[in-house]
């Protein structure tokens, strides 16, 4: 029954004969592992085609919708993150496999007659794959892709004669818009894959016409593609798939940074790692001509030499030149890539920029995934510009951290190299308050060190603190010592409690002892207000560090409860923070909602719940 059905199909279609033709390709010298690379590339492309089309079914190419649809794929759609991760990492795997394939073809001299045309076809395929990476990078319309693509398209613009027009055609106008995305998407999902399929068919047909370029000497008798080589190819493809699947699993899909905003700077802009060598290369050239040489002429010449390899390689010496050239280029690429990584690793500003970018991405994901909110129809950029939580994060990275530091004990957080205000890391907690009560640390850059307050208050606060601690824990009557070190620890616990920070029983006990110490005669309340005691000769400690206190401090630091006591001092403006509340600063202040989020962040309580599915 089955046999007769097979016969029927074979008679009507001839498919069996075709399969035999495809599968029983002669493999000179038998199947070998070294022949698998071309197959892994074809397989990688097949994976990209399938995952790409499924992503397409969920993607929306407009500046108002692109980020949201990719957010949805990555964080809402069941299994979407894994699919996107595979597409993302397989794209990178393809670049690596391409490099291996190219090196091997040149090493084996497989570009020589009669295979020249197929070698050229391979180079065209390589360029198409690189163009696919470049166009795909923009599609999520996040800050990372947006700024990298701005650089890439501006490079198109410097091409002599046609550059300006070519850039306008690629971008779809003079500015980045919906048209940029629709065009990039048409290239990425339509034009380039179609070209790739066309070239791949020719590449494979020519490969079959010329036969496999066997590595001599042959070690075994000839074999067939099926099943020996197919098994080896399949194992290699399985390995590629496993690595890519593993990466996607490990990194939970692919990164999605904050929504693109051309009017918001992105200091962490970097291309994908396999283009880093070009990025680094561009730093070496300067001026208009230099740039054309670095970005167009030299890469163009390199490609020209690659295309000329079959002609150069006719003689043995030419083949050795080709090999030497290719290895020199690869060595150069590796060197530049390493140099780019090293330079970036040694760049504290980039570290800060990445930290800020991560915070912004987190708030974007938080808002997009909020159960009582989400991305408005106006788009993710509008959400980031208007939602108080997003605005608060931008105020923190753009303004707070221009003066404040936010650095943890192990160098984590944001490292402001020249802080002119306190280090906000751990604000409100006992350790922070205790640092403020340390005569050496209070004049360090973590607190008042780089402000005029250090000098002004030295005679008062510092002297007070010196007196408090010089005697260590030996509090002797008449020594002028107000608090012992242990007592200052307790005072700090009292402040920790006032700030409403978490504490255990033991710490609660210390805090209540500390509270009594605050009220001690000649102690804190000598200058600070604390409940009914003391007066406003210094900031009010009544509810120090609480949400309300921090909000008031951010809203109007010149308020009488805060640094109002400095009013009239000629260095008042330098010593106090700018006012951020809309009431105190109608021109560039922020609403109470924004201030509340900033205060939450200062207190380490800002919830940025990223959805994990």
């Amino acid at each position: 029954m089955i046999h007769s059905l097979v016969n029927w199909i074979e008679h009507r279609t001839g498919v069996g004969g075709l399969m035999r033709h495809v599968l029983y390709e002669r493999v000179p010298g038998g199947a070998r592992w070294r022949y698998v690379w071309g197959s892994t590339l074809a397989f990688a492309f097949f994976v990209q085609l399938v995952t790409g089309v499924i992503l397409w079914a969920a993607y929306s190419p407009a500046t108002t919708t692109a980020w949201g649809s990719v957010y949805y794929i990555q964080h809402e759609m069941t299994g979407g993150w894994f699919l996107r991760g595979i597409h993302h990492f397989m794209a990178q795997a393809m670049v690596v496999l391409l490099a291996i394939h190219l090196l091997q073809v040149v090493w084996d001299g497989a570009y020589r007659a009669p295979r020249e045309v197929n070698f050229w076809m391979g180079l065209v395929l390589m360029l198409i794959v690189l163009a696919l990476s470049l166009t795909g990078y923009l599609l999520p319309w996040d800050q990372k892709g947006y700024w990298a693509t701005r650089v890439a398209t501006n490079l198109v613009g410097i091409t002599p004669l046609v550059g300006e027009k070519a850039q306008e055609l690629v971008v779809g106008g003079t500015n980045y818009s919906h048209a940029t995305l629709t065009r990039f998407f048409a290239l990425h999902a339509g034009v380039l894959p179609a070209l790739l399929i066309g070239c791949l068919v020719v590449h494979l047909a020519l490969f079959r016409r010329h036969g496999l370029c066997a590595k001599l000497p042959l070690k075994k008798s000839d074999g067939y593609f099926w099943p020996d080589q197919v098994l080896k190819d399949a194992v290699a493809c399985l390995a590629v798939m496993a690595v890519v699947g593993g990466l996607s699993w490990y990194f939970h899909g692919a990164e999605l940074t904050a929504p693109a905003d051309g009017a918001r700077q992105y200091e962490a802009a970097r291309p994908e790692w396999y283009f880093l060598f070009l990025f680094q290369f561009l730093k070496l050239f300067h001026g208009e001509t230099g740039e054309i040489i670095g970005a167009i002429v030299i890469p163009g010449l390199l490609m020209a030499v690659l295309f000329a390899m079959p002609l150069l390689g006719r003689r043995p010496v030419g083949h050795y030149f080709n090999l030497g050239f290719l290895f020199a280029v690869f060595a150069g690429i590796v060197y530049l890539t390493v140099a780019a990584f090293q330079e970036d690793a040694a760049n504290p500003e980039l570290k800060n920029a990445k930290w800020a970018a991560k915070l912004e991405a987190e708030v974007a994901l938080d808002l997009a995934g909020a159960t009582d909110g989400g991305i408005p129809p106006a788009g993710a950029r509008a959400m980031m510009r208007e939602h108080p939580k997003a605005v608060a994060i931008q105020v923190i990275t753009d303004q707070c951290l221009k003066c404040h530091n936010y650095q943890g004990p192990n160098g984590e957080g944001y490292n402001n190299a020249n802080p002119t205000a306190s280090n906000l890391w751990g604000f409100g907690r006992q350790e922070w308050a205790r640092g403020m009560l340390d005569p050496e640390r209070i004049v360090s850059e973590d607190f008042f060190g780089n402000t005029p307050l250090a000098a002004r208050e030295y005679g008062m606060v510092m002297e007070f603190l010196h007196k408090s601690t010089e005697g260590g824990n030996n509090l002797e009557e008449g020594s002028g010592i107000v608090y012992t070190r242990d007592e200052l620890d307790k005072v700090a616990w009292a402040l920790h409690a006032k700030a409403g920070m978490d504490m255990n029983e033991e710490q609660t006990k210390l805090a209540s002892e500390g509270e009594a110490l605050i009220l001690k005669d000649g102690g804190c309340t000598n200058c600070h207000l604390y409940g009914d005691a003391g007066y406003l000769g210094a900031p009010d400690l009544t509810d120090w560090g609480s949400q309300a206190w921090v909000e008031e401090m951010v809203r109007n630091p010149k308020h009488e409860r805060m640094y109002g006591y400095l009013a009239g001092w000629d260095e008042e403006d330098k010593a106090t923070m700018p006012t951020f509340g809309i009431e105190a600063n109608p021109n560039s202040g922020y609403s109470d909602e924004v201030i509340a989020y900033i205060a939450q962040w200062v207190r380490g309580e800002l919830q940025l719940g990223q959805k994990q599915e």
């Binding site: 779809g172 919906h178 009017a263 962490a268 561009l282």
Partner: protein, 247 residues
């Protein structure tokens, strides 16, 4: 290609038959390739559409815009960036009063505190520049200050009070001086920018609509509050010449 031969063809008719076949080949080839090109020709015009759209206002690319009260530009010369609000045409979407970019404003304290306005777009390849502390200059000044302390007698040189900063691009290390000029190359690194940081011009017209022929940046409103205005423009990157783009 020659067709398969047919049996029984009259050899005397072969000549005219060949002519006829030749004509058919030409015609079929012509119509065939025309058909192949038809969708491409129809598609070429819309694809090239961005090149046909040109809308320049009378006074050239860009627009005049009120940036901020003068009081918000730091008096000590520290640069500060301000958002620019304007119209945004995004193909089929239109929005007015939307943030379209940023400008950096600074007072030139060494020359009478005049306003300087810069584009934040790096002229190299379009990343955004920001002011960063000029650590070298700061160190030099600190060293000078230390020298002065040890050597108080005699005339003291006039102190340069301008804040020590540079404009720095985080992408390819372009660096610009406070006046926008390209900063000198440092320790073997190239400064890749083809030109200095783009200075924004004063508005073409005063707020009352008359020509701003004195090139002023600041104008008072009805209540006497001084505001900074600029001509907001964006420029082509990667060229030594500063050419404004149509927005």
């Amino acid at each position: 290609m020659s067709p398969p031969s047919r049996e029984g063809t009259d050899l005397t008719e072969l000549g005219s038959e060949q002519d006829r076949r030749g004509f058919i080949k030409c015609l079929a080839g012509f119509i065939g390739s025309l058909l192949f090109l038809a969708p491409l020709i129809a598609g070429a015009v819309p694809i090239l559409a961005p090149l046909f759209r040109r809308q320049s206002s009378e006074d050239g690319p860009g627009f005049d815009v009120r940036v901020a009260p003068l009081a918000q530009v730091p008096e000590d010369g520290t640069p500060r960036s301000f958002p620019i609000y304007g119209e945004e045409r995004n193909v089929w979407n239109y929005q007015s009063n939307v943030k379209v970019g940023e400008v950096i404003l600074a007072r030139n304290v060494t020359e009478g505190g005049e306003i300087r306005a810069f584009s934040t777009v790096c002229p190299h390849l379009g990343c955004s520049v920001a002011a960063t502390e000029d650590t070298d200059l700061k160190a030099t000044r600190e060293a000078e200050a230390a020298d002065e302390e040890g050597n108080t007698e005699g005339d003291q040189p006039e102190k340069d009070l301008a804040p020590a900063y540079l404009f720095h691009c985080p992408c390819h290390n372009s660096v610009f001086q406070p006046n926008g000029a390209k900063a000198a190359l440092t320790e073997g690194k190239a400064n890749p920018s083809p030109r200095g940081l783009d200075q924004l011009l004063p508005p073409a017209n005063k707020p009352d609509g008359t020509l701003n022929d004195q090139g002023k940046y600041t104008f008072a409103d009805d209540e006497g509050v001084e505001f900074v205005f600029v001509r907001y423009q964006e420029f082509f990157t990667g060229r030594s010449e500063k050419i404004a783009k149509e927005l």
